[in-house]
């Protein structure tokens, strides 16, 4: 048994999840690849969204995958970092907007 939760080599084995449930695995990978095709959004834009979400989800596999994917698409590091700040802004905004709930509660409880 490995001694760490994450191993970079495991990313290459992602496809193996289908071995224990072929039907759902196939459906997932089919869905996944369709999502990233050119559509109303370009594949390039989707790659940047994926990179930002990879960080907000704190998924090391996804960060590896979509950093490389971005480089392959010619996305610059400035674009990548801006995408991350979008993710970070939503995460911090999501924390802070709950402050209104805190304030409501304080205002209700305090004399």
């Amino acid at each position: 048994m490995q001694k760490t939760y994450y191993d970079p080599a495991d990313l290459k084995k992602f496809g193996k999840i289908s071995e224990w449930n072929q039907e759902l695995g196939d459906k997932f990978f089919d869905y996944y690849s369709t999502v990233f095709e050119e559509g109303a959004l370009s594949a390039r834009e989707k790659s940047l969204i994926a990179l930002a979400v990879a960080h907000t989800e704190q998924c090391p596999y996804c960060i590896d995958a979509y950093t490389k994917d971005g480089l392959q698409r010619g996305i610059t590091k400035e674009e990548m970092m801006e995408a991350l700040h979008v993710g970070a802004a939503i995460k911090s905004g999501a924390t802070l907007v709950h402050g209104v709930q805190m304030m409501n509660k304080v205002n209700k409880l305090e004399m």
Partner: protein, 351 residues
């Protein structure tokens, strides 16, 4: 940081046998990854054999005004290997009788060969209609004696294929050296002024993109769209097509992969992206590569690994097209670079 050629650095990798050792041992010897031979045998494509010869690719010398980090030629100002007029005359004798229709001139910077213009003139007289010059662009602005190159290219209807790793200054200069982006932009504008690359123009101007790091190129069409949009908006530059070329793990790129501990992952990426459909169209099937000193190779990459053609005929002085067409193509693990994804050749994707 100024980069020197592997040869100048007296690097271990300046020895081509050392490069071939690395490509044959390690993860390929242990069976972690299949060898190229085993892989193409799965679809009965081994051994690779030539189809109709279409292109003579002549390397006019390894001298270059640039020292790019990824260069598979290990070219640079410190390389003195230059094709002599005597070897050019041997090439011309071949050109007069060849079935090939295209002459593809490469280097180094082919324009730095002092007999470059003479050779193009003579080859033109010998009946070549389709010239390709692989220009690094900055040579056009490097010295006054090269300022007339755009006019010279136009006069001979030369098809210019130029390297341009990115449409941003930062990524371009990182790979090819400080100031390269601005000079390349100026050179492209000069070519555009003469009609090169403009929509509908017969003066062909194509760009070559290759990744600036240990990753494969993305989709050629999507990259072309991004390059066209950015270069047009920012600099009013037009070009015809973008060729996305995969970096092959040889010479300075191999050195970089090993030094940055990316070699094994990169080879995994190449093998995972292997596309059997690309095998039948790899450039070694329609090209003969000729080195500055007249030796014959299956491609420019094999030339840099000193893998001469597997034929009785190995030198331009004894050139015999029938015998050459009867050969098998020499391969090693670097060949995965030409069969990854949509494939890669000097003309970009092949599948």
């Amino acid at each position: 940081m100024t980069i020197k050629s592997l040869q100048k650095r007296e690097s271990d990798l300046a020895n081509t046998n050392r490069q071939l050792d690395i490509l044959s041992n390690g993860i390929f010897k242990s069976g972690e990854l299949p060898t190229f031979k085993d892989k193409i045998s799965e679809t009965n494509q081994f051994p690779l054999t030539p189809k109709k010869l279409e292109i003579l690719q002549i390397n006019l010398g390894y001298m270059c005004n640039q020292v790019c980090e990824h260069c598979h030629v290990d070219a640079g100002p410190d390389r003195k290997e230059i094709m002599t007029r005597e070897t050019m005359l041997q090439c011309l004798a071949v050109i007069e009788n060849t079935g090939a229709h295209t002459l593809d001139l490469t280097g180094g910077a082919p324009e730095m060969n002092p007999d470059f213009k003479w050779f193009v003139h003579e080859a033109s007289k010998a009946g070549i209609k389709d010239f390709i010059v692989r220009s690094n662009l900055t040579i056009i602005r490097a010295n006054k004696k090269y300022y007339d190159l755009p006019d010279f290219f136009k006069e001979h209807n030369v098809h210019v294929i130029s390297s341009m790793p990115h449409y941003t200054r930062g990524k371009t200069d990182k790979q090819r050296g400080s100031g390269v982006f601005d000079k390349s932009v100026k050179a492209l504008q000069e070519l555009n002024e003469r009609g090169y690359g403009r929509p509908g123009s017969n003066l062909r101007l194509d760009l070559v993109y290759n990744p600036s790091g240990a990753y494969l190129p993305g989709d050629q069409d999507a990259l072309e769209k991004d390059f066209k949009k950015a270069l047009k908006e920012d600099f009013d530059i037009d070009f015809h097509n973008l060729f996305a070329i995969t970096n092959l793990p040889i010479a300075r790129f191999l050195d970089y992969l090993i030094a940055s501990e990316n070699y094994e992952d990169y080879m995994h990426s190449l093998v995972e992206a292997y596309n059997p459909a690309a095998v039948s169209s790899v450039m070694c099937t329609n090209t003969i590569s000729i080195s500055w000193d007249g030796w014959l190779y299956d491609c420019d990459f094999n030339q840099m690994l000193d893998l001469k053609v597997a034929s009785k005929v190995q030198h331009i002085s004894e050139y015999n097209e029938d015998l050459l067409n009867d050969r098998t193509i020499r391969t090693s693990q670097h060949c995965y670079g030409c069969t990854a994804g949509s494939g890669s050749s000097c003309q970009g994707s092949v599948a």
